[in-house]
Symmetry: C3
Subunit: 347 residues, 3 copies
Amino acid sequence: MATPRLTLREITERLGGEVVGEADAPLSGIASLDDAGPGQLTFLASPKFRSRLAGTRAAAVIVGPKDRDATTLPRIVAANPYAYYARAVALFHPAKPVVAGIHPSAVVDSSARVAPSACVGPFAVIEAGAAVGERATIGAGCYVGEGAVIGDDTFLHPRVTVYHACVVGARGILHSGAVIGADGFGMAPENGAWVKIPQVGRAVLGDDVEVGANTTIDRGALGDTVVEEGVKLDNQIQIAHNCRVGAHTVIAGCAGIAGSTTIGRHCLIGGGVGIIGHLTICDGVTVSGMTLVTKSITAPGTYTSGGPFMPHAEWLRNAAHLRHLDRIAHDARAASRQGKADGTDDD
Amino acid sequence: MATPRLTLREITERLGGEVVGEADAPLSGIASLDDAGPGQLTFLASPKFRSRLAGTRAAAVIVGPKDRDATTLPRIVAANPYAYYARAVALFHPAKPVVAGIHPSAVVDSSARVAPSACVGPFAVIEAGAAVGERATIGAGCYVGEGAVIGDDTFLHPRVTVYHACVVGARGILHSGAVIGADGFGMAPENGAWVKIPQVGRAVLGDDVEVGANTTIDRGALGDTVVEEGVKLDNQIQIAHNCRVGAHTVIAGCAGIAGSTTIGRHCLIGGGVGIIGHLTICDGVTVSGMTLVTKSITAPGTYTSGGPFMPHAEWLRNAAHLRHLDRIAHDARAASRQGKADGTDDD
Amino acid sequence: MATPRLTLREITERLGGEVVGEADAPLSGIASLDDAGPGQLTFLASPKFRSRLAGTRAAAVIVGPKDRDATTLPRIVAANPYAYYARAVALFHPAKPVVAGIHPSAVVDSSARVAPSACVGPFAVIEAGAAVGERATIGAGCYVGEGAVIGDDTFLHPRVTVYHACVVGARGILHSGAVIGADGFGMAPENGAWVKIPQVGRAVLGDDVEVGANTTIDRGALGDTVVEEGVKLDNQIQIAHNCRVGAHTVIAGCAGIAGSTTIGRHCLIGGGVGIIGHLTICDGVTVSGMTLVTKSITAPGTYTSGGPFMPHAEWLRNAAHLRHLDRIAHDARAASRQGKADGTDDD
């Protein structure tokens, strides 16, 4: 689809903000400060990039109130220039309207309720008693299990699976390969083997949840796994059974959350993070990439584990000592005490 | 499907165990100690939760022999209350019977052998020479490659891929997005580029194996990748070519096992664990979450790597020293020796 | 398909190299030094395995020039025996020819251009304006989005998704469950919630790229995500938006590369590695398994983080000290200075 041309006036008429300078020159698109070419709009997401503003070839720029006078380019002054940029991209790249209808190849059970305005793609399967909301899209090859619910305006990209009885709220986006509601990993040991514990809870996703490609959210064992409204999940994430992820929390790719853990609201969980089971993470916690969280966190802030990477030869010299850190700590403490006893500590 | 109502008498008639107290009151379902409501059955998986027994609202409870008198509630005394609970859940939530038949949309090669009692869902593809066992289920959109074998009573949830020539045993459960038998990652360097090594072995799964959503088990390079009977794999796991995973071993989500590694029987591999290639892990090993195993393990026990997580500011102060641990260790040792020479060590 | 029988003469006629000894005995296949049986060909990938040559039961062996006289078996002397082995496997296990044609169940938009020599499997979907090259294979249940391009001789195994506008070069291999071009993970915070940033770039894969099962490569936010020619990606990898992976780089399973990071050419990225966003890794870098890379790397070499694994009891004694490494380092340094002042350092 061709990108529409828009002027600063047209943009502010739709998104708010104030135009400073030429308002009626047509712009052909949007790009970063470094990549924008003549005729394009760019944005200054943060004052810390202000020095790069001078070099941009863009025709116009979105700035925050503090950067109102940081450029002579035609500009939009907006309270939150980064969020404004997000919406401006959507103006230049409007989503295709949902084309209502069920592809003739789709297999939709007669007891499923598919809204007339919904779009069901080729080779999709919608089982008995499932419900698909208004203007929802069920992409090619998706599977919506028995009694599952897909909310209004939710978009399932191709090849998403939603198991029976699970719920996806409104305005969700589920990327290809996501699996919602597979069995949680529960089994009881008996005589050296394992007895499967049937997983009879659900996975329930609130409104405005985005789920990345190949991310998995298991159903609960007895109760539900819950992902609250506004949560954004990147690709390749695993959310185990009976977890709860609080509203507006963001989890980056490849993270894994073990069973029955509760994550608070407005958390930022880094890529590759692991959180063990049965913990509670309070609201407002940031966890650095690849940190392993082994205890509950009760205070907002940033938490980290792991060590710095280094050239391998250097690592070989250093890391072996981790096997003997207890002795090293003891030696250092003993020596320190002796130094203090002697009055020779260098503090 | 409505949950059936069951009495303690009916449950013990099917699962064994002894009823103490009222045996004929109908129970409406099963829930945890904390969540169970009136009319529900609960369970005391371990004596360590005994203190929570007093507060439960459940109508009856499954206990072990040592907890026979820990409650006055009607109860079932069972040797292994957690395994008993697992089976009781299945009574309250019986699996739907397999509906024999091939969906008219499925593409089944004329040379494939599909048992008359098997169920093949819409848009499934079963290639030439493949075999599907009695009462097996091939879910919607699954792909069973040429000459692959799916055992009796095995259940493939929607969108599972089993590549050509691979074997899945009886009573297996493969969750959505699982990929069995993709090419192992093998290539030979030549002149700065890579020559692909065709992967001509198979992936062979024993009986009673469960494979989580989006887990991948690669086929062998020349020989086979083998997952023995009773192994349980969580979601998002990667098992590389020519690995062998011993019987009844359990692997938690997001773990990755590199090529040609052998894991013993009855191991517990934690979430996010990495095991490098060409190692041997003996029977009965537990590996803590996110540990990297870089050497073979020859003694049962629990193994761990990594460090504690901490507030980021604290981490910044501490972690930088890991680059200099060799010098720190040397300094501490030297000081300790001096202290000992002086007779001032505080041991 | 039955494995053809080949003689050393036939093999060298097709792959080059020199035969020493019996050239015309038919060989039934190829196997490793330890596994090869009578009548099979084996290979000595490296002189370090020379001691195992004496025990092989193979009928013939591929060796390098330095090992020309390391055996009396009939042999092929090749400059690069491991790469030779890779090609020899392909001779014994020839790829099935692509059967041109579009399965009647596939849904191919009338504006898509599918080469007459391409193969499109059952339940594949090819959207408007997409292009599929000569002799390409689009496996069962694959999805090729609007305007996407699949190069000549590229093979998509079943259930691959290529989102709209993305490009896959020639001779690529994409394994089942791979997702190319899902939205990058971009959103702007606003009033405690998140505004989605439309991801309007593409994912562009060069020629000769292999993508493992369930690996995900996101599309760019404004510009493109680029995977250059000859890159080999294992399973379960996540490549975030606007990354660039340099030619002939290899990435092992479960690695995650955060947004806007550039990886050089001829790098070897280990399994489970994490690389944070907006970094530059130069050519020729090796990163050890499960290392977290937090800064750009400007010199070739091997880089590592993490610590050794150990028995858990030992780990408990040692790891707790990581919370106090700053004090330990200080104590050790102070004691060392005192020792030096006293002239008692043991260096």
